[in-house]
Symmetry: C2
Subunit: 415 residues, 2 copies
């Protein structure tokens, strides 16, 4: 194991107070999944009638809990979420499948529902069998003691190499009622040292049907979690789940059955804000990160083309090491644009760092001031903007720099 890192210098200075959400109770425990005496289990219990939505890793080798959730999601109902850290239950073969089944059974019995209303997520070491019998006794006790507060403790329970817990919250009007959205996330590399997974869980008391919730979540993820990259590596376990208890219906919130419902306007805006906030926190906690990097590509032929070019820049080791070295190395940005394979005309390209244009029309901008750029690069947030001059396609992604600490965290250890 890597030694515990100090908190990222990019950690948010303010952690919001997390309100309760009617219909959700939380409990955490130390079940000794991998280490003794370390909180490693989160149980979220939800009232009957809670709907569920989920988005998962695109990996062709997903973990057992991802396969479990995909199957359970077909029912669209949730009564509990069980998350453990310490073991990802990924690449564990038939044992892994049996382990999810046993966890689902134990949780269903504890909460008093069917196994297909239980959602599971695991994060930690890959390839080690997860001994689900450790949940025996733990989950029923947690069900008895779970309380509506303790959101920060919940966010801490799911951390692995994260250096700070990640939460976000918002209250908005839905009809005449006020509804709440709470979110938490973990994830520091797409796979941390021998650990796996970006996990995020969103809860609301808004009454929204499962299909509508799924559509809302899918739309929200495209420009938030799917627009963040630490190292271009994709976990076998990435899981984003959203649960809607519907408890706000008692305060007069309208029951929503379509994602396109106009009454959702404020809700959708708040949901996107929360997803963006959590995604940015993941980038801010990138392994070894010292700088948050926003890559903006505009003037591409389409938004999808802008995304691919932005990802090519954000995943380039040479761009990321240059940012770590506080070097406005636009030649490497050109390289990354060129290798993306998307339409680009070298002689129309302009590139700016933190608002200072260093290249235009396919050559160095003769007017830029090297000292001014050098100073701008010392900022702990660096924006790279590329204008292609071809069309109206625009997109942005977030990443972080590539430092020696990243190599140390991921290379200097023996598990």
């Amino acid at each position: 194991m890597a030694k515990p890192s100090p908190v990222s210098p990019l950690a948010p200075t303010h952690v919001p107070a997390m309100p309760e959400i009617a219909g959700v109770r939380l409990g955490t425990a130390a079940a000794g999944i991998r280490y003794k005496g370390r909180t490693d289990v989160l149980l979220a219990v939800m009232d009957k009638g809670t709907t569920a939505a989920g988005v998962f890793t695109t990996s062709k080798c997903p973990s057992a809990p991802v396969e479990w959730c995909r199957a359970v999601l077909k029912g669209g109902k949730a009564q509990a979420l069980v998350v453990n850290s310490g073991n990802a239950n990924a690449f564990t073969g038939k044992t892994g499948k049996a382990s999810t089944k046993l966890t689902g059974d134990i949780a269903a019995k504890a909460v008093g529902c069917k196994p297909n209303e239980i959602f599971l997520a695991s994060t930690g070491v890959i390839g080690e069998p997860l001994d689900a019998t450790k949940f025996n006794g733990v989950l029923d006790k947690l069900n008895e003691t779970a309380t509506p507060d303790g959101w920060l403790d919940a966010a801490k329970a799911i951390m692995t190499t994260d250096t700070f817990p990640k939460v976000a919250t918002a209250k908005v009007k839905l009809g005449k009622a006020t509804v709440t959205i709470n979110g938490m996330a973990k994830g520091a590399g797409m796979i941390a040292p021998d650990m796996a997974t970006m996990l995020s869980f969103i809860f609301t008391d808004a009454p929204i049907s499962a299909p509508a919730l799924q559509a809302l979540l899918k739309a929200g993820v495209a420009d938030s979690f799917n627009a963040v990259t630490i190292d271009g590596d994709t976990s076998t376990s990435d899981t984003l789940l959203m649960f809607a208890t519907g408890a706000a219906a008692a305060q007069g919130a309208p029951k929503i059955t379509k994602a396109s419902d106009v009454r959702l306007k404020a809700f959708v805006k708040a949901l996107h804000m929360i997803l963006n906030d959590l995604a940015e926190q993941v980038a801010r906690d990138g392994e070894g990160a010292r700088k948050l990097v926003e890559v903006v590509v505009e003037g591409a032929t389409t938004k999808a083309s802008a995304r691919r070019i932005a990802m090519s820049i954000a995943n380039s080791p040479l761009v990321k090491t240059a940012i770590a070295g506080e070097d406005a190395n636009w030649g490497r940005v050109v390289m990354a644009v060129g290798k993306a394979g998307e339409p680009a005309n070298r002689d129309k390209l302009s590139i700016s760092f933190n608002g200072i244009r260093v290249a235009k029309s396919g050559a160095r901008d003769p007017s830029y001031d090297e000292t001014e750029v050098s100073n701008a690069m010392k900022n702990d947030k660096v924006q790279i903007k590329v204008a292609l001059g071809l069309g109206k396609g625009r997109d942005r992604v977030l990443t972080c720099d590539l430092t020696k600490e990243y190599v140390a965290i991921n290379g200097d250890y023996r598990s």
Copy 2:
């Protein structure tokens, strides 16, 4: 500029003696392209009748010399090659194009041929105008003094952040004559610190027509230079050129007009050996590299699918840092297989490190000995073998580990 690095620990222990090639003369000089007193120009002069072939970067933002070579290659004839280090003449707009034209004119005048028989390659800083007037006086003097030996000096003249010169040579029978193939290469990252380019030049006295030569080179590059990756970044300037003087015809070598000519069998084998040798030397000189990594993927649905999976593994920062840490982290290999997006069945996957199987049938191989694997990972060459169990597709790629030195070389400097 980064401080000069000590020679890579992976450098070949033996440098071959490079024989002369009839019809080729070489000269190097210090033209002060970027630094004073440093050899930075190579002129290779070739006899009339020399044919040419070339393969270039797939970047959508290629350098001016790449565009020049692509145009000149249509004629298929070569009388000189001019290479400079210190300035890549990439992303230099109209100035860059004018600069290649002026270099071509100066070289053509010096050698006594047409500009469309001159090939150009530049490596070094991106985005700085290349002052081609510096070639004035230099190239005609080089043409007068160029000699058939000095291959190692030539290989040194084209180095940037390379820690050792890269050459390879072979002699084979073509008909009843003995023909020679000489090659040289440079390239340490796909883009070294503020530098660009993998360059390689192959020369032979075999009489081979330009179309046949082009077909031979294209076929040879697929499993050599195109199967090497340092950091997944693609230079704007990657250039591989091959020249055939045809001088061996005087010794009775048959004139070859088709790549499929059966008399080429030994020649093709030697050419592939040289291309592989040079490509491996490039991987051995990867920036900061401490280990040469061979990724073998077998049992894929097709060779192309095996290549994409192998590249996904070879470009994964998490796999590469694990190798640097001498950790047989097969979980990260599974992750990289999964993210490649190619057909893969988790439960059929086997993974070996240096011949020791650590995972089989989708789970940890219960029989492997951790101490044995740990010892194997200390080797300076590490083979990762993945067996997918789906079909007969097989491929291999070469890369190196990702160390703190890579980050230092690429991040710890201000140009």
